[in-house]
């Protein structure tokens, strides 16, 4: 038992260290310690299921121990910036005022192609448009465009807002989302009326989107593949 606990701690620390050593490229959306916990826990969970001769506690104890270490790590990271930097690393600036920091790219072992790909994922096609771009500790790229390259908003253009609410789904796959209807000041009667205007029962609506104005988008369910079933906007 003692052996199991110390091995669990050692393996956890070793895998975490290895992940930190491998750098941000190995990570997805998870923080290093979260990824390690996820990997180990998923493996541990299968041990007792696969091997009958192994007692259930041989999986449960390391599993809870890892969860405990993860919680302890997050609590320590919350209280100590130094610990947080040690475990999760620090965000790294890769573009500043349109200038790519090649030293940072080398340090992160990111190629220019990787950076451009990540920028394209953020709808940025020219690094000169970027005021500030950082590789976060979970390996994702965050981008702030230069103010003059930002997409203008209605407020920037000084235009009046036509709708106060966001466009929400009212019906999805024939299922009525009553909360969304109510939030946009509509009710079941409006829904029935709208469906009737398209000569459709509500359960035959694939998607109905709308907001607090009279504008909406309705798409009816297609009975057969290739059948024309597109609805019209009201």
């Amino acid at each position: 038992m003692k052996l199991l606990i110390f091995r669990t701690i050692l393996i956890y620390l070793c895998v975490l260290f290895a992940m930190r050593l491998m750098g941000k490229r190995q990570l997805g959306e998870l923080q290093p310690e979260e990824l390690v916990s996820t990997m180990l826990i998923s493996n541990l969970a299968s041990i007792s299921i696969e091997s009958e001769e192994v007692p259930i506690t041989a999986s449960l104890i390391p599993l809870f121990l890892i969860a405990g270490l993860e919680l302890l790590g997050s609590a320590l990271s919350f209280h100590s910036q130094r610990f947080s930097n040690l475990v999760a690393g620090r965000p790294k600036t890769v573009i500043l005022n349109g200038q790519i920091d090649q030293q940072a790219l080398r340090m992160l072992r990111l190629t220019a192609a990787d950076l451009l790909e990540a920028l394209r994922g953020k709808d940025v096609y020219d690094p000169r448009d970027v005021a500030y771009a950082v590789i976060e500790t979970n390996g994702s790229l965050s981008v702030a465009r230069k103010p003059d390259k930002e997409t203008p908003t209605l407020a920037d253009l000084g235009l009046a807002v036509r709708q106060q609410k966001a466009t929400l789904p009212f019906v999805v796959d024939g299922q009525v989302l009553t909360d969304n209807l109510t939030a946009c000041g509509k009710n079941a009667a409006w829904l029935e009326q709208t469906a009737a205007a398209h000569r459709l029962p509500v359960d035959q609506i694939l998607v109905l989107l709308g907001n607090d104005t009279q504008d909406y988008f309705l798409l009816k369910k297609e009975s057969r593949p290739g059948d024309g079933g597109k609805g019209a906007a009201g």
Partner: protein, 122 residues
């Protein structure tokens, strides 16, 4: 904060179970070593009934340990030990004392290994 307390409670539970199981295995190893030594000594003095009694007692301890610790210990070692002792008992029944001594020696090594496992840290 509630999650941290749950985590601490789980840790405390795990440590308690660790201490209990380690103590239990060491106690078992001590008791079994004693029975094996008794049996071997009895065989050297040609006291077959006393040896048989000690071997039976040892096998009973193994069976008890195997059944009671199934939830928190790997029982493979206890099964193997019990099999060795049963074999030693059978050899005694057939009057094969040398073979019985061999099985007892094998069982002693296994007990020593079990005891050593509880003292390892990694």
């Amino acid at each position: 904060m509630k999650r941290i307390w749950v985590c601490l409670a789980l840790m405390a539970g795990i440590l308690l179970l660790t201490g209990y199981s380690t103590r239990r295995v060491r106690l078992f190893a001590d008791q079994l070593s004693f029975q094996l030594e008794t049996a071997a000594e009895a065989l050297h003095q040609d006291d077959v009934p006393a040896a048989r009694q000690a071997i039976r007692q040892g096998a009973r301890l193994c069976g008890q340990m195997r059944r009671e610790s199934v939830l928190y210990l790997r029982t493979g070692d206890f099964i193997e030990l019990e099999a060795s002792l049963q074999a030693a008992g059978s050899h005694l029944d057939e009057g094969a004392q040398e073979e019985a001594l061999g099985e007892l020696g094998r069982a002693s090594v296994q007990v020593e290994n079990i005891d050593w496992l509880t003292r390892r840290w990694l």
